[in-house]
């Protein structure tokens, strides 16, 4: 009885009793949610256009962040280092297309997946040789990312919103919107969606695979840099950052590997739910630290009932 009470009643009573705290928790959830959504989008774009599950997404985050900080350490002004890093990510995209994807075209999916593991190992080694293995600090101030926080007092309580987080949410949100507009309005975006629907037909109308592949890998490079800056600012720049890409896995299971809107909604959902669960259920009932596994268990439950994910593209089949 007591257990049921603390499972089903008390958490909600707590939420109502301290709405300011609830807002704080929701905000924290949104911050990580937006980032999950961003990383998941990187996976979705590459999967849609080439059926490759990109294992290297995580290391690309690290590599982009390392390049940015590394360039700055070598004396490049911060605001110049960002475009330079983008150039590096572009060269990386071209290199991956030429050296890895093109020779492996038409091979079974699993082989391409293995190839992205290869890319991961290469980037780990290459990054370490050039920038060294020690942890670095993200150049937050030099990039003019504001620090400090806004404080509110709604419902007679207290909510604090860090400006760093607010910048991250706005930045990531803008990036997501830009991507959506790009996918739905531009010629290249249309080609990416077409490629996701019917590979052969896309080839037959003259859509060039290599152009699209370079493009999607470059876009996921941009996403990697954005994620790297935001996460690096919170946790420092190290190879451990790679792990956060795998936090996007449950988002993908939830949203479906091919759905852009699924990635966004799934990301926000996982971000918010895992924070709520941690604060209201995890800490009082399970001793906390549930954030590491909650998303995976949640995704597993969803898959039991909807194997294509919550927003997986409906399979259109004419009868």
């Amino acid at each position: 009885m007591d257990f049921l009470n603390s499972l089903l009643v008390k958490p909600f009573a707590d939420m109502v009793a301290a709405p300011d705290f609830l807002i704080q928790v929701l905000w924290e959830g949104i911050v990580s949610g937006v980032l999950y959504a961003l990383i998941a989008l990187g996976f979705v774009l590459i999967y849609k256009s080439s059926r490759i599950f990109n294992f290297a997404q995580g290391i690309m985050v690290v590599f982009a962040a390392l390049t940015l900080v590394g360039l700055h350490e070598k004396g490049v002004p911060a605001l110049l280092a960002v475009p330079l890093t983008l150039v590096v990510m572009f060269i990386l995209a071209v290199g991956i297309e030429r050296v890895v994807l093109r020779p492996l075209v038409n091979q079974p999916d699993i082989i391409l997946f293995m190839a992205t593991i290869g890319i991961t190992l290469f980037l780990v080694g290459f990054g370490e040789i050039i920038f060294g293995g020690e942890n670095k600090v993200m150049i937050t101030e030099q990039l003019y990312i504001p620090t400090g926080s806004f404080e509110f007092e709604p419902f007679g309580g207290f909510v604090s919103i860090e400006q760093k987080d607010l910048t991250a949410v706005i930045g990531a949100g803008l990036l997501v919107i830009a991507l959506l507009v790009f996918l739905n309005r531009s010629k290249m975006g249309r080609a990416i969606r077409a490629l996701g629907d019917d590979h052969q037909a896309a080839l037959s109308v003259g859509i060039s695979l290599s152009t699209i592949w370079v493009l999607v890998w470059f876009i996921s490079g941009i996403i990697a840099l954005a994620t790297g800056i935001v996460w690096g600012a919170r946790a420092g720049v190290s190879f451990a950052l790679e792990v956060i890409a795998f936090k996007a896995l449950p988002v993908l299971m939830l949203g479906g590997l091919e759905s852009v809107s699924g990635a966004i909604i799934g990301g926000l959902m996982i971000g918010i739910l895992e924070k709520l669960f941690e604060i209201y259920w995890g800490q009082p009932l399970l001793g906390g630290n549930t954030e590491t596994w909650f998303a995976f268990v949640f995704a597993l439950f969803v898959l039991l009932f909807r194997p294509q994910g919550l927003f997986g593209e409906r399979i259109i089949e004419r009868v």
Binding site: A194, S204, I316
Partner: protein, 277 residues
């Protein structure tokens, strides 16, 4: 008109295929020396049963073969005076040769209009020209204009075939390789599609190479035909001559010399007769 079939197609070909051999997966020999040519502004048909190599021939020309691990190992393909067998499908579309695949292959999650617009991927002549061509496609296929916002996965088979042809038109082709346009369509719709092929050929000067099982319709609209069997051309000639050829009538048009007759009455040895048997 029972004149003997001329051995060569009329002069000034836009496409010439010289004795090509196609091998899939390094082992399976599918085409064993196919030669054909399509005159500029012509409609030419490739006829044959399942597995005769019609689709493979078209894919060899458009080079979609490569994506299926097929390879042209011998012979040449000349389009517009240039050898093209080493070019990518993208290059070929740029040069004005586009394939409409068998089974329509629309982009199911994209709207009809987006489907059409993907056909303009290789074009560099600006949005206004592309918009103008979109209107032109809608003129040829008024039904597509009505359904422009529908997801292509949910429109009818005939509309999908129209979308696929319209999509190819958006690339401003000089030649369309049309694979089995009649597949799965009602006879009336088949007629409608072929009428549009004829119109496009007359108004726009687009040359067509079409692969068909439905020899009756194909030979009425095409000017020249090739009959393929087991990866070889076994007969070719003017459409008219082919229509009147006794063997073609019997094997492909379902009509014997004296009009319709029952399959039961065909002698056993004749039933199994094939040119290459």
């Amino acid at each position: 008109m029972t004149q003997p079939a001329p051995q060569t197609a009329p002069a000034e070909p836009i496409l010439t295929v010289n004795n090509i051999e196609v091998i899939y997966d390094h082992v399976i020999l599918v085409l064993k020396g196919v030669s054909l040519s399509v005159p500029l502004g012509g409609i030419t048909a490739i006829l044959g049963a399942n597995g005769a190599g019609k689709t493979t021939t078209l894919k060899a020309i458009s080079n979609l073969l490569h994506a299926e691990r097929g390879e042209v190992t011998k012979g040449t393909i000349v389009f517009g005076g240039e050898e093209v067998q080493a070019l990518s499908p993208n290059d070929l579309v740029r040069r004005g040769c586009i394939q409409v695949m068998e089974g329509r292959h629309c982009f199911g999650h994209l709207s009809v209009e987006d489907n059409l617009l993907t056909g303009a991927f290789t074009r560099r002549d600006g949005n206004a020209a592309i918009r103008a061509d979109l209107d032109m496609v809608y003129e040829y296929f008024p039904r597509l204009k009505v359904r422009r916002q529908s997801q292509a996965g949910y429109i009818s088979g005939g509309e999908q075939q129209m979308t696929a042809i319209g999509r190819a038109l958006m690339s401003r082709p000089r030649m369309i390789l049309l694979d089995e346009p009649s597949m799965g369509l009602a006879p009336q719709l088949v007629e409608e599609i072929f009428e549009i092929v004829r119109k496009l050929n007359e108004d726009q000067g687009v040359s067509f190479l079409l692969a068909e099982q439905n020899a009756g319709v194909a030979l009425r609209y095409a000017k020249y035909g090739y009959i393929l069997e087991s990866g070889r051309v076994v007969l070719d000639g003017d459409a008219e001559a082919l229509r009147n050829n006794e063997d073609v009538k019997e094997f492909y048009l379902g009509v014997g010399g004296e009009g319709r007759k029952s399959f039961r009455n065909v002698k056993h040895y004749k039933r199994r007769k094939r040119w290459l048997a």
